[in-house]
């Protein structure tokens, strides 16, 4: 894909009738049964002040969602695992307002999120739950994904079902697994093979959410793709996911990568993702029952190669067909970078998948502005400016600075 082509997914017309989250035929015995008779009445739009419980409120997306909710005058109950500051993507501390922010110590890996009695009562009054908490790092032991992403979602569902509190569940577009073609928002389990343990856990979590929906829980699922820096500045708080890969590749630490030049990476600016999650929470009546792709700029590996080539100091990896790639044949100095970093992202370099965002569009989430190349440049420029990419920053004064000072 190039700058000249629309960067939003090119998809057929929406299939009708517009599906809602389907009813599974077999209920999951692990999902708690509904205890309360009626769901909370839905608020007719964003003008009403809501109380929103946000898990993962200090996370990359969670902080931005929290900031948007409080900025719109809503009250956020921020479930925090650690008692740290909420730092926004722009590096500044979150200054809530005009809405209020209440911190709640909690841990999604514990039943009832490990909330204290008082906090449980607070949570019971929440109008919405936005479940952002998840581990998104790759390469962790499988049990960690199961504990946080799957069990964590099960515990959040327990909390939501207890009060029939409408839930916005933040999933990932990559629940589509290893496949080519177009992934639709209303698809979930289509016999796909998850690309890694992270995707597997998010697929399992979303399956739990759908089952809870079938049991009557009002639910919206938002599926971001790869969450990256801000649309206009490229600024990013968390240098995770694609960032370590870019670092290894552009520094020439690994020169050969298994991948297809037409494999597609979808980079979703964090502000776009947070906007959609927030909208889903505040306009829940429009979003209920829907799954929305929060996707961004599609970039093929060839696009990436072309943009990386614009930076003299960057090495551009050679992408070789996965069938021809042999990790054993890598030079010894490159092998650790493959094993520890790039191999974790291998599915992303071979997947030729595009995400249909018709439902998100119908919900009012505009497609990203054209210019996937320009967006990638902003991400790279930001990382160069901070020294994350490029040669390490020099320390101390420039000893050999050819000053050319012209002061009197």
């Amino acid at each position: 894909m190039s700058d000249q082509t629309p960067s939003g997914p090119t998809v057929p017309e929406p299939r009708t009738p517009e599906p809602r989250i389907p009813d599974p035929r077999t209920p999951d015995p692990k999902v708690p049964e509904l205890k309360t008779p009626d769901p909370k009445p839905l608020d007719p739009g964003t003008r009403e002040r809501l109380t929103v419980l946000v898990t993962g409120a200090s996370g990359f997306v969670g902080t931005e969602v929290t900031a948007r909710l409080t900025a719109a005058g809503h009250t956020v109950l921020a479930v925090l695992h650690h008692n740290g500051d909420l730092v926004r993507n722009n590096g500044r501390g979150l200054a809530p307002g005009p809405g209020t922010l209440t911190r709640i110590a909690g841990d999604v890996t514990r039943p009832g999120l490990g909330l204290s009695g008082d906090d449980r009562r607070l949570a019971a009054d929440a109008d919405r739950i936005v479940h952002c908490a998840a581990v998104t790092d790759f390469g962790l032991p499988g049990g960690r994904y199961e504990r946080v992403n799957v069990e964590g979602t099960r515990h959040v569902l327990g909390l939501a079902l207890a009060g029939r509190t409408p839930l916005v569940h933040v999933s990932t577009a990559y629940v589509c697994g290893e496949r080519d073609g177009i992934a639709y928002e209303d698809e979930l389990e289509v016999g796909q093979r998850p690309g890694n343990d992270y995707e597997k856990s998010k697929l399992a979590a979303e399956t739990l959410v759908r089952k809870a929906a079938a049991d009557g829980l009002p639910v919206t699922v938002v599926r971001p793709s790869i969450v990256t820096g801000a649309t206009r500045t490229g600024r990013v708080r968390d240098l995770k996911t694609v960032y370590p890969v870019l670092r290894v590749l552009t520094r020439g630490l690994l020169r050969t990568v298994p991948g297809h030049l037409d494999a597609v990476l979808d980079l979703a600016p964090v502000d776009r993702v947070a906007d959609l999650v927030t909208e889903a929470a505040t306009r829940f009546e429009d979003a209920e029952g829907r799954t929305l792709h929060a996707v961004g700029h599609e970039l093929t590996l060839r696009d990436m190669s072309d943009v990386l080539a614009e930076y003299p100091s960057f090495h551009v990896p050679r992408f070789v067909p996965p069938s021809a790639f042999s990790a054993r044949a890598l030079p010894g100095r490159e092998r650790p970078y493959y094993d520890r970093v790039v191999s974790l992202y291998a599915p992303y370099f071979r997947r030729r998948v595009r995400f249909d965002a018709t439902r998100a569009g119908a919900f009012g989430h505009r497609p990203p502005a054209k210019g996937a190349h320009a967006y990638l440049r902003r991400l790279l420029d930001h990382c160069l400016a901070t020294g994350y990419l490029g040669p390490p920053p020099r320390k101390g004064p420039h000893a050999a600075r050819p000053d050319g000072s012209t002061h009197r």
């Binding site: 297809h260 190669s305 960057f314 551009v316 021809a324 420029d381 050999a400 050819p402 050319g404 002061h407």
Partner: protein
């Protein structure tokens, strides 16, 4: 004025008499004589002004009257008004005002009416003189800043002689800005001495001439620096602002359409998807050290870490060739222009004449500091390189097939396979010399005339081999041995590291494929033709070695 009113009226009468009778014109004298400058050989420039609605031609009529060259231009009031409006519109961004437009306005505003005084004065009133002074002063100041920034950059880059020339350009531009603000808006620097005399500030005039005539010994960076500082001080005293005192505000910035492609150790830089520059080892090292968007001093400090001597001069070459640009923080791209000249733009050096031009590992270069322009456009350069890699694969493949055919006594098969190997070797030879697209296989030996004379023996040998038949095992063994010698001959012509690669191990096979992928990456970017579809299969599909390593 050096000519009396009577003399001017007489020249005008005679000039108009030579033109076909037409509209009633107002006439005004423009140019150096009207400004109070000029000499006996100066042109007479008459501007004829009409209220006609239609556009009048821009080209002047040239006459010779009483031994003087007379230029007659015609403009309608509407055209002149549009000129003034255009200058007004761009007043806030002087870079957008062309020298020609400013000059046209200046000449009208400072002209001397000869006929139809009322109309001429009506036109002049369209742009008040005071306003025009400010615009012109800003225009010159903008140019002075650009030249000074460029001079400062060149000093940092170690190009002090070049910096001195740009400092001198800035000196003229600075004093022209100052003079314009006093009403001396005549653009050409030709009459600057008279403008300075007329300005009535002997201190400024004398200081200008002192700086203008200051001797700066060639290669003396200290003297160049001192001169630049003195000129900056002078410009500041003249009232120019935002002068470049600190090089930290200069940044090395990206040029759209410039990309870097490395194959093996060779760094290739493609400009505008069209021109390929091959960098020698030192130049490549300096190029690789560039982090665009960083201040120039930091870029230079980073480049110094490469250990390359005088890296700044290599960066200066990158700038000249338009591979990077300089920007002034808050001031956009530095676009220096000599007084009354367009910005020089990017330099395109003569193309490299090295032969052979290419190896599978990259383009040949003239030296370690070289920034050599390839003599063929980028897409054909990449296509030739891919064809070269592919010919290596095919040669080796064909020799293997020949061996197999001889083992089974398949003489006809062996004959054809040997020809295939010869053709592939020739394709490699042509590709290494930058020939792309390639002639048809059957024409290759006929087209040897395209290649340097030293390759003639290869053509002779190829003809012989292509005519050879295989009737027996002995014939076949002899042919195979001669084919090996032929390949060695080609190898000798194009360089041992170029052709053919040895595929006697999995390692060398993989190395070849990797180079193939490097070139494919560049070729894909440029939309270059692949040698044949099989190459894509090999490079982008199976990728497995077609024959087991021996």
């Amino acid at each position: 004025m050096i000519l009396t009113e009577e003399r001017l009226q007489d020249l005008l009468d005679k000039s108009l008499a030579e033109l076909p009778p037409d509209t009633e014109w107002a006439v005004t004298l423009e140019g150096s004589i009207a400004e109070g400058f000029g000499n006996p050989s100066s042109d007479i420039d008459f501007l004829l002004v009409s209220r006609r609605a239609d556009d009048l031609p821009t080209m002047p009529s040239l006459l010779f009257v009483d031994g003087r060259r007379v230029e007659i231009r015609t403009r309608s009031v509407r055209q002149l008004a549009e000129q003034f409006r255009e200058v007004e519109r761009s007043a806030g961004r002087p870079a957008g005002i062309s020298e020609d437009l400013l000059n046209r306005c200046q000449r009208v505003l400072h002209s001397h009416p000869l006929r139809g005084h009322a109309l001429v004065e009506e036109v002049k009133a369209l742009l008040p003189g005071e306003r025009f002074r400010r615009i012109t002063a800003h225009w010159w100041a903008h140019r002075a800043r650009q030249s000074l920034r460029h001079a400062l950059a060149l000093q940092c880059l170690g190009e002090s002689d070049e910096a001195v020339d740009w400092t001198r350009a800035a000196l003229v531009q600075s004093v022209k800005s100052w003079a314009a603000d006093l009403g001396e808006t005549y653009l050409e620097p030709k009459w600057l001495s008279m403008q300075l005399d007329r300005a009535g500030r002997t201190d400024v005039r004398d200081r200008y001439w002192e700086l203008e005539s200051a001797a700066v010994p060639p290669g003396d960076a200290g003297a160049a620096h001192f001169h630049l500082t003195a000129c900056l001080d002078f410009a500041e005293d003249l009232g120019l602002t935002d002068l470049p005192r600190r090089p930290e505000r200069l940044t090395v910035a990206r040029v759209a359409g410039v990309t870097t492609w490395q194959t093996g150790e060779r760094v290739h830089v493609v400009r505008g998807r069209r021109d390929v520059f091959a960098l020698g080892a030192d130049a490549g090292g300096v190029w690789r050290s560039l982090v665009l968007g960083r201040p120039l001093p930091r870029v230079l400090a980073d480049s110094a870490v490469t250990g390359v001597t005088d890296p700044g001069r290599i960066v200066a070459a990158f700038l000249r060739h338009g591979l990077v640009r300089l920007a002034w923080k808050g001031g956009g791209t530095v676009t220096p222009a000599l007084p009354l000249a367009a910005p020089p733009g990017h330099v395109t050096p003569p193309p490299s004449t090295l032969q052979p031009l290419l190896s599978v590992g990259g383009a040949a270069v003239t030296g370690s500091r070289a920034v050599d322009l390839m003599p063929l456009p980028a897409d054909r350069f990449a296509a030739a390189a891919m064809a070269l890699v592919w010919s290596n694969v095919v040669v080796e493949n064909a020799v293997e097939d020949l061996t197999g055919a001889l083992r089974r006594g398949q003489h006809r098969v062996a004959e054809l396979t040997a020809r295939r190997a010869v053709h592939a070797a020739l394709r490699g030879l042509f590709s290494a010399h930058g020939v792309n697209p390639l002639p048809a296989d059957t024409d290759l030996v006929r087209r040897m005339e395209l290649l340097p004379e030293g390759t003639v023996p290869i053509g002779v040998r190829a003809r012989e081999l292509l005519a050879r038949g295989v009737r027996s095992a002995e014939d076949g063994d002899a042919l195979r041995a001669e084919l090996r010698r032929f390949i060695a001959l080609v190898r000798g012509a194009v360089g041992a590291d170029s052709f053919p690669l040895s595929f006697d191990s999995a390692y060398t096979w993989r190395a070849t494929l990797q180079l193939g992928h490097d070139w494919l990456r560049m070729g894909a970017h440029l939309g270059a033709e692949l040698p044949i579809e099989e190459a894509r299969d090999l490079l982008a599909g199976n990728g497995a070695q077609p024959h087991p390593a021996r």
